[in-house]
Symmetry: C2
Subunit: 419 residues, 2 copies
């Protein structure tokens, strides 16, 4: 019997909350939360949806599914509402997909920390495949082919590959040609593609960074998941959605996911469905909010990236989400003199000596001996709603005093890693 | 690989919605939903909780867990907030418990239709044990001992027993002496007791019907689950809670449930947590609402019970929840002449010929050849909020014209079953 431990990002979050409650100042970069206030019109939508207290359809109300279908259609993915399922976050949807699709699961290495435990909960073996040099969120195609062969030789049955576009934890986006190569492997090896696109609306500069969804390339074998936790800072509201392929195979997977949903969570809370309907219809004020948020995420992620590189780390330049994933391998010598020899000791040192909370790479499936970690830069926008709104409105948010203070603490902390 | 089908109650609910949309009149007794409006103060609590958008602790905020602890303490179950976990419904909590506790699961037969699929999702075998003659929600103690021995001989490993107090689907409550007998078997056989007490506040006459929780008898081996879907008609809001045993074993189970929660659903939506805090603190207006709801549920359940018995069925008199579970075995002769020979054909005939939706017993794990079904009487309170509030306020709700109309349709439908 497996013993289950709390998701390391949520566990770290609770550690940070406790230390802060004790008065210890912490720059918290260890949790993938967009630290921005609720967009005001959503408060009214939640209230408008409140009188609806019946269970309703498991997959969500038709009007809500239609709104989600429209959202995808505006992203070159024509969608019928019957392809959509809503849920309390994309997390339970990803879990349900693992329950109903047979076989083992190929994951980028590193990747979001819940994919692998979910695979194990569904009785599957997660199979990590290193990411390419230039971006994360996808297995390196050459490594993927080799790993599939090796896994089959070991008696495993890889049938699903998870892609994260844009990526958590690297803050990068696989370019279209790479996505096409992965899709062609998925076709050749008969893999279902689960494309986690929860950061899709957090591409920092959508004009400069093209996102190609696998659902455009191999539509009959791609499930797309999304949610409002990241783009609209609604982690605590728990709103997610999935788009299943059109056609018989997709309908079959969707029907089984709805079946599992009926046993696991019944439906997305109805008041939250009204919020989802409003957001996924994307009125102008929502589009503006999404664009402003993405600009802020980009500006601050780039600033932290610059500090990491300045401190001697290697790092992929971030283009989406709100993370950087530096590699302090170039400082292995001086770090070793400090007792830092792996990602666990690196995380510990940053927390205990520098007051900086990050998530060690091994907690994301990465090589434990590597000197890598994830820094969630979205926690730097301020502690008050006024500070956060100011960061969102400012054309140069990294110049705001409270953001600068956080960046200065990071610069100082990173600066100690060279010994 | 198992193929998953939608929970039959939720599936039937969708069939009824479609037929009604086509203009077919249906008396809907097939879905366990309290058809009452949202209690008005809850709308304000939801709004008050809306600005909280961060993820927060997986188990729920301390203030909310403290409120739940107080709720249990007022029911003779002293509870520390650290024993409590909140979730989007009790359903995911029941699932997580199955994931973390090893062994197979003993279930009353019939029982709520999600326990067995959840067991299968967790890789367990559900083991049905017939209920006693006088009440449901618990396995018959004599049958339980024998079934455990037989299961072990078959290579199974029964380690959990689920009790439903009061019971869905029979609308009855196991008396204290029976609960004590079951607890002593749980102790002798080293079983964890999962006591689903979601209908605890829907005992029709709490003075006449004593509820003994297994957590009072074998506290170190009982997990209690509850939620607001039934007592406050909040199925669509998805609010549930669990109380784990004090002490090391209970803390261990709880820690693993929180771990699984962190991978499956993250947390109960924060605005809903504010609703939960308010309700579980049980201010006077909540107690009054709960008492009025329980009175209404009792009056209407008894009326349907009387109609079933009047039509020739055997039936346990309901004392809790909002169900009756009649057995039309005495009419097997005339029913056979109508082509009704099992619970599936009985459900079909009532839906197609009488416009009455019920849930066939075999969908709840009962013998498919038996002529039994569950009727959820809480769907009779009216289609409008005004009708529902009138039913709630009236000392004789079964005399209200719209409730009488539903009862008359049931009487007419049941009357045709005698041929």
């Amino acid at each position: 019997m497996t013993t289950w431990s709390t998701s390391p990002n949520l566990a770290l979050n609770e550690v940070v909350d406790r230390r802060r409650a004790e008065g210890v100042p912490i720059v918290h970069l260890g949790f993938g939360e967009s630290r921005l206030p609720v967009f005001a019109p959503l408060l009214d939508r939640l209230r408008a949806g409140a009188p609806t207290n019946a269970y309703g359809p498991v997959s969500g109300d038709l009007a809500v599914r239609a709104a989600v279908a429209g959202y995808f259609a505006r992203r070159r993915l024509p969608t019928d509402p019957e392809q959509v399922v809503l849920a309390p976050g994309s997390k339970p949807l990803l879990m349900a997909i693992q329950h109903v699709v047979p076989g083992d699961v190929l994951l980028p290495r590193p990747c979001w920390n819940s994919y692998a435990p979910q695979a194990r909960l569904a009785g599957k073996t997660p199979i990590g495949v290193p990411i390419p040099r230039d971006c994360g969120g996808v297995p390196d195609p050459d490594g993927l082919r080799a790993r599939i062969r090796a896994a089959r030789a070991d008696g495993l049955d890889p049938r699903i590959v998870v892609l994260t576009l844009p990526d958590n934890p690297t803050g990068t986006l696989a370019p279209p040609d790479l996505v096409r190569r992965l899709c062609s492997i998925a076709e050749a090896e008969d893999l279902l593609v689960v494309s986690d696109e929860i950061y899709r609306d957090v591409v920092h500069d959508p004009k400069a960074t093209e996102l190609l969804s696998p659902a455009e390339v191999v539509p009959e074998r791609t499930v797309v998941t999304t949610g409002l936790s990241k783009s609209l800072a609604l982690g605590g509201w728990r709103i997610g959605a999935a788009r299943f392929p059109a056609g018989a195979r997709g309908a079959g997977i969707r029907a089984e996911v709805v079946a599992v949903a009926s046993e696991l969570w019944s439906t997305l809370a109805r008041p939250m469905q009204e919020v989802a309907r409003y957001v996924f219809e994307e009125p102008p004020e929502i589009r503006e909010r999404l664009a402003a948020s993405a600009r802020l995420h980009g500006a601050v992620a780039r600033a932290v990236y610059t500090l990491a590189v300045g401190a001697g780390a290697e790092c992929r330049p971030p283009t989406g989400a709100f993370y950087v994933y530096p590699d302090f391998e170039p400082l292995r010598g001086p770090l070793g003199a400090l007792g830092v020899t792996d990602s666990a000791s690196l995380q510990r040192r940053l927390l205990d000596e520098c007051g900086i909370a990050v998530l060690a790479g091994h907690l994301l499936g990465d090589d434990p001996g590597a000197l890598r970690f994830k820094a969630a830069t979205s926690m730097l926008y301020g502690d008050t709603i006024a500070e956060q709104e100011a960061a969102l409105a400012d054309p140069a948010p990294t110049e705001l005093p409270h953001v600068r203070a956080g960046l200065a603490a990071i610069e100082a902390g990173f600066g100690t890693l060279g010994g």
